[in-house]
């Protein structure tokens, strides 16, 4: 009896609900994601508790470029993640307030929203929301303290209004570190590059030069399939730098330090997070999108140029028992390396960079040259 009655009511209510959905005026409560994603990529995984909205993204951008969040008002996220350098800083090691140095190179943020595993070189952070909070209070980065940061935000009427709209707050005391992280994550998920020459070639909108094509074939080991590339060497790059984001998001020892005993690494990298000595010397594979703009290279910025990086891999790297087996002497010629280099330059997305600079300037960012 109850079931029959319930079914009747359910039918009527379902009809009512569908009627409401077909009414545009009734659908305005759902914020639309303003981030356009290209079909070439698997969709970004948005957390259920932090979908991107226009208000949240704008707030995140403003926070990202605001030096007021740092302890002495001199450093913003963008001081290290500069849009003109594909969100890196051009330095071997990150530099925070008062010139303090971090121990790691600044990773680029291009397409960072597609990274749904862990973040940082050592993978110590599980999400963009969580990761975004680290630099704010790291003494070698922005050096802030949450009570001071929250006071700063709550004292700014524009911030209070922006947080209220983005997260449906009714009082400024509801502004929390968690919401700061969410806004910053929303902004970072909008950093999508898909207009590089490489992308346009894949879409049939451009063509590689003969040299770029050779570099592409060497990068992706196309000699394995025979055909026109059969005489080219294989550089084994794409095992780790897998398309479309040119990172497999995993951790490897790429042979930059000799360590016959795994306890001998100066920086344990992933091992410092997992506690496993077998993971010492391993670091997350960085994306190569916009790589020509993100020098210097490696977790400690030891290689100044891409030529040095290619030479490192061509030599096969230093010995450690956990060195990736795909890092081995490659026997690349000078021409092969030149071809690879021009291919890597096709991963630069000027349209993305210029758009990010334009957006950044609208919130007060000024281009600067660091020495």
């Amino acid at each position: 009896m109850w079931r029959v009655l319930g079914l009747l009511i359910a039918g009527m209510l379902a009809w009512l609900l569908l009627s409401n959905l077909s009414n545009p005026a009734a659908s305005t409560e759902v914020a639309e994601n303003p981030v356009a994603e290209p079909d070439d990529f698997a969709r970004i995984l948005y957390p259920d508790d932090n979908p991107t909205s226009a208000a949240g993204l704008d707030l995140g951008r403003r926070l990202f470029y605001d030096k007021g969040l740092s302890a002495n008002g001199t450093v913003s996220c963008a001081s290290c993640h500069r849009p003109e350098l594909a969100f890196t800083d051009g330095l071997p090691l990150a530099m925070g307030i008062e010139g303090r140095r971090s121990t790691r190179n600044v990773p680029g943020l291009t397409n960072i929203g597609y990274n749904h595993f862990s973040l940082f070189w050592d993978g110590r952070s599980p999400s963009l929301e969580e990761q975004a909070l680290h630099p704010l209070t790291d003494p070698n980065e922005m050096g802030g303290h949450w009570p001071d940061i929250l006071d700063y935000l709550r004292a700014d009427g524009e911030y209070v209004s922006a947080f209220s709209v983005a997260f449906d707050l009714s009082d400024d005391v509801e502004i929390t570190p968690e919401l700061v992280g969410r806004a910053l994550a929303q902004f970072q998920r909008s950093l999508i590059s898909h207009q590089s020459k490489y992308d346009r070639v894949l879409r049939g909108e451009a063509e590689f030069t003969a040299q770029e094509l050779r570099g592409w074939a060497i990068f992706f080991d196309r000699a394995e399939e025979g055909g026109e590339f059969v005489d080219l060497p294989t550089a084994e790059c794409a095992h780790c730098h897998a398309a479309p984001h040119f990172s497999n998001q995993q951790f490897f020892n790429n042979g930059i330090d000799q360590a016959p005993q795994l306890t001998e690494f100066a920086d344990p990298g992933r091992g410092g997070v997992t506690g496993s000595v077998s993971d010492n010397g391993m670091f997350r594979t960085p994306s190569l999108r916009n790589v020509a703009l993100t020098a210097p290279y490696m977790h400690d910025g030891r290689f100044t140029t891409l030529e040095e990086v290619l030479e490192h891999y061509n030599q096969g790297g230093e010995y450690a028992p956990n060195r990736s087996p795909n890092v081995r002497p490659l026997g690349l010629t000078k021409q092969d390396k030149a071809d690879l280099l021009v291919f890597l330059q096709t991963l630069t997305d000027e349209q993305f960079i210029q758009q990010q600079i334009t957006d950044a300037r609208q919130v007060g960012y000024e281009l600067e040259i660091k020495k």
């Binding site: 319930g6 409401n20 070439d40």
Partner: protein
């Protein structure tokens, strides 16, 4: 506001509908099946990165850093001839971190009780192999960066490691086998082992897969690490690929 009210009423109604059965968390006559893959080397639990294994050739030792393979259409086939139950369309069975346990378990709920045999496709079935990663969710198993390219498609299986060849305690000879193509896809069927699924029983289906067996067919036929052409093999058309693929099929055993 009208929509909120409607949703509230709808929820209330669903509550009514659910009342007669709301003390049942699981449907009678169904159970959860656990499929376990236990990786071995020479019969012992595989330990990535840390364990040094003796290999077939004299004085050679191995350090394994990666072992993985795809499984498609893992199915339970009713012994009474009914329709097969597909537990999963595709699964990546992968050991790639030092902390990975030797046994990887995959859980499948709501399986009807009954007697079955088990079968699965080794590799990525053609229907999925024809699709590009961007056609799947970013966290789907075919978006684990195992896509070679638009011609070669997904890598069905990988073994990576480092070998010590000179007895100097230096594991400085890299090994890397990446194998797979449509022609390799094969169904492994275990018709002689009956699996009784019951809500009252432990419904584990246990496989072992021995990495040494994948590299060693017999005492005279085994992967040769002295030559780079046979220890770095990423070409699915290489005879080494075919040999290791055939070995892998023999290396997977149904224990229960």
């Amino acid at each position: 506001m009208p929509r909120i009210l409607t949703l509230f009423l709808l929820s209330f109604t669903v509550l009514f509908l659910g009342c007669p059965n709301d003390d049942d968390d699981s449907v009678a006559g169904e159970a959860t099946v656990e499929v376990n893959f236990r990786a071995l080397f020479g019969g012992e639990d595989l330990q990535l990165f840390s364990e040094r294994y003796d290999y077939e050739a004299n004085d050679t030792r191995l350090l394994i850093t990666l072992f993985q393979f795809y499984v498609s259409d893992l199915q339970l086939v009713p012994t009474d001839g009914g329709e097969p139950i597909t537990l999963t369309e595709i699964e990546l069975v992968r050991w790639n971190e030092s902390s990975d346990p030797a046994t990887l378990s995959f859980s499948y709920p709501d399986i009807p009780e009954g007697s079955y045999t088990v079968r699965f496709g080794l590799g990525v079935k053609r229907e999925l192999n024809d699709k590009n990663p961007n056609e799947f969710a970013a966290d789907f198993v075919l978006n684990e960066n195992e896509f070679w390219n638009e011609m070669a498609r997904y890598v069905f299986t990988k073994i990576e490691g480092n070998a010590e060849l000179e007895g100097d305690d230096l594991f400085d000879t890299p090994l890397s086998y990446h194998i797979g193509k449509n022609d390799f896809y094969v169904t492994l069927d275990y018709p002689n082992a009956t699996i009784d699924v019951s809500a009252e029983l432990n419904n584990d289906i246990d496989f072992t897969v021995d990495v040494e067996r994948m590299m060693v067919a017999n005492a005279t036929t085994f992967a040769d690490f002295t030559n780079e052409d046979t220890r770095i093999v990423h070409n699915p058309n290489s005879p080494v690929s075919a040999q290791l693929w055939a070995n892998l099929q023999q290396a997977i055993l149904l224990i229960r």
